[in-house]
Homo-oligomer: 442 residues x 2
């Protein structure tokens, strides 16, 4: 792997609070940051990148998404949650094939790299095909094959717990360690207590974590109290789901006791602000979670509800929503919100060496082009990133020391073919007579 | 002016509800749209633009901003409103010069064109210099010179009402009608009733409108009730401020009677969602305003509080914030929110021929590049624009039939010089010893 020297960059390290190193060099070898600032004696780079007027920072980790759902982006708009799912999303997903999953995930990977994401926690079906995309794209990912516990004939892709266990074993540590796997029971409102107990036992036996949906609505909480005598969080904790590493997506409706459990068990809460706002789902108590020391990470959720995979936007929305929900502009300051979007997600996904620009850390970084009117003047680089920068300002993306994008060109994926195949399949899923499908010209 | 034929575009017209014309042509001559769809016989274009896989829509109108405040972008972060103003913004603005206003507005104009804005309602000081920028840039604008009514020696730039009246007369209808002018009393919480009465009389005599700040906090409402026995809206109405065209920025804290007054008087409410969220100011009753038939437009406010001039983001934030504030995902659907960001602003600024792609309408349009992963598949072009597109996806911008940006290149402004001059001045305003000011290389 070539040695790379990034010269004269402004670096948002996310190491010390609010640390920005101006006009700094970053030396990279063997997938690891060797030095920031002074280049070590004897470091002979194979490649030098002049990053004058550009900003280096850790790449984003998307802690909760369903990558193949790019195929239903924009297919269910301005609807209540029940109609959103029953009339639109479920109808489209019922036409899903295994091959669609590959192309939907590939479209997601292209989009994620373009907006500076270096790793993602995915939760969907036919996950071997998503793993293939991760392997090819050069991204990091923590993959969960979603299972409802209803029996193969009632599940997308004939899923069973055994099948998802096989998936975990098949792909754990693949792609030079860029792929992690966990178990993916859908949620306590779909999965039975008996099934969740099996999942917890299997996860413990495999030594892996779980990734699931928790407490998305007050109705779910009320039903859990009525059926199990416990909140969803307490119910899951009792069944052992939080005894290993866990990503609990959402946790919008949680009480004080729930927060204590999440903190004590070291559960990561993956918060998906854009989705909550778009579907009118409410405001999770993020400031309280942070005050308790819970590892809060950010996710986009699937593009059916967001409608994109843009973590920079997700960071901005998190800051904005929580400041306004409590009428307190001091909440979620810039440095903190960038940590949620990067290192907290990385930690949740089992990549603790990522999310910081410092020696001996993984070379998972992005470079933003600040030579643009909306990013000047440079009074506060962190504020400019969160509140003024856009996904398109990400110019270069590196994961594990390898460039995935240089000068806005994707280096690992055939973007033209992906756009063509994904859109063609998306149109077929919803009824292709609605669209004119063009011949592939690529 | 050359005749332009845009071929094979997907057109979001904002004419009929949810109307999208696929693979359509748009013919433009004399600054006006001649035809959409079938090109008229005898239309011989000077220029043909192939817009396959691109989306044409009306350009954005920013109904409330302070363009020169780009110079303090990022200079006051994560602070309560009083400290934000007293410790940071006011300190920087006290170092402002007339020449700074020109370069700050020029930086804003470059940014606005790049993100698809074609017109803006500005409210600041030394507005002749902003008018120069509008003239040069090719944008449309409705300009108000801000005045407090405290006497020249206590105002930025030695402003008096007479001076702002002269400004209105000097620039009204300039730049081939692209510049409109109105009076700009700051607000009912700064300006005295006697002064506001003078402003209303002058506006009536000149036949122009007003643009001012209204009801940004509950405290302002409480003070108004205590001092004047009326809410800010009722107070202004009684003093005659709403007897002509009026842009009332904010109106966050308004009651039912206020809404009746705003509707009856035909006042435009300019709502700046990003600013309210970032400064934790609350949620205005936008759905109620819309239900009353009030002309609601969107604005970015100044970049000190937003921190950019991106109306596409502002449209998205408005939809997201109001859906979640009332837990109703059906509020502010896509077509509506694009109208707020385009034609409602245009109407407020006195450009009612803008904001629609249809024959005989002004050729104020933008073209977004949809050949990108995050904008596929194209199930719903309007949703893709609001929820997935970014400012950087705007590829071409036309105002009054003239290209201001082609293929992301600004055609009317010297962007390199603007970036250099604006940042140099911004650093001087806050103490240039903090920064290394580079020599201009342009």
């Amino acid at each position: 792997m070539p040695k790379v020297l990034i010269k004269n960059a402004d670096v948002i390290t996310l190491d010390q609070p609010d640390e920005v190193l101006k006009g700094s060099d970053v030396a990279i070898a063997d997938g690891v940051i060797q030095a920031v600032g002074a280049v070590p004696d004897g470091f002979v780079p194979d490649e030098v990148l002049d990053a004058t007027d550009q900003v280096v920072m850790p790449g984003f980790f998307n802690a909760h998404t369903h990558a193949p759902m790019t195929l239903v982006r924009g297919w269910a708009e301005d609807l209540p949650l029940d109609r959103w799912f029953n009339e639109r999303i479920w109808v489209a997903e019922s036409a899903l094939t295994e091959e669609d999953v590959y192309w939907g995930a590939a479209l997601a990977a292209a989009e994620m790299i373009r907006c500076g994401t270096v790793g993602f926690a995915d939760h969907y079906f036919w996950m071997d095909r998503v793993a293939e995309v991760v392997e090819q794209s050069g991204l990091r990912a923590t993959l969960a094959w979603c299972v409802f516990g209803l029996g193969a004939e009632q599940e997308i892709g004939g899923t069973t717990l055994d099948l998802t266990v096989d998936f975990v074993q098949r792909w754990q540590g693949a792609a030079d360690g860029r792929i992690h796997t966990v178990l993916g029971p859908h949620s306590p409102y779909v999965c039975s207590p008996a099934f969740l107990t099996q999942v917890a036992e299997q996860a413990a036996a495999l030594g892996v974590g779980v990734h699931l949906h928790v407490a998305e609505s007050q109705e779910q909480v009320d039903n859990s109290l009525a059926e199990h005598g416990r909140t969803p969080v307490a119910h899951l904790a009792r069944l052992g789901l939080f005894d290993g590493p866990a990503i609990a997506a959402h946790c919008i409706y949680v009480n004080d006791e729930d927060l204590s459990i999440l903190a004590e068990k070291g559960v990561t809460v993956a918060s998906c602000t854009g989705c909550y706002m778009k579907l009118g789902m409410g405001v999770p108590p993020l400031p309280d979670m942070l005050a308790r020391g819970i590892n809060v990470a950010l996710g986009t959720d699937g593009t059916a509800s967001n409608n994109d995979l843009d973590m920079l936007e997700e960071a901005k929305l998190a800051a904005l929503m929580h400041k306004n929900a409590r009428l307190d502009p001091q909440l979620l300051p810039g440095d903190l919100v960038l940590r949620l979007a990067t290192q907290n997600g990385a930690r949740a996904m089992g990549f603790p060496q990522s999310g910081v620009i410092a020696p001996d850390r993984a070379a998972d970084l992005i470079i933003l082009d600040f030579h643009q009117p909306h990013l000047r003047p440079r009074h506060n680089l962190i504020a400019n990133v969160i509140y003024a920068a856009k996904a398109g300002d990400v110019r270069h993306v590196m994961v594990a020391g390898r460039w995935l994008m240089r000068d806005r060109e994707l280096l690992t994926l055939d973007e033209e073919r992906i756009i063509y195949e994904a859109e063609r399949r998306a149109w077929r899923m919803v009824g292709e007579e609605l669209h004119v499908v063009r011949e592939y010209q690529g």
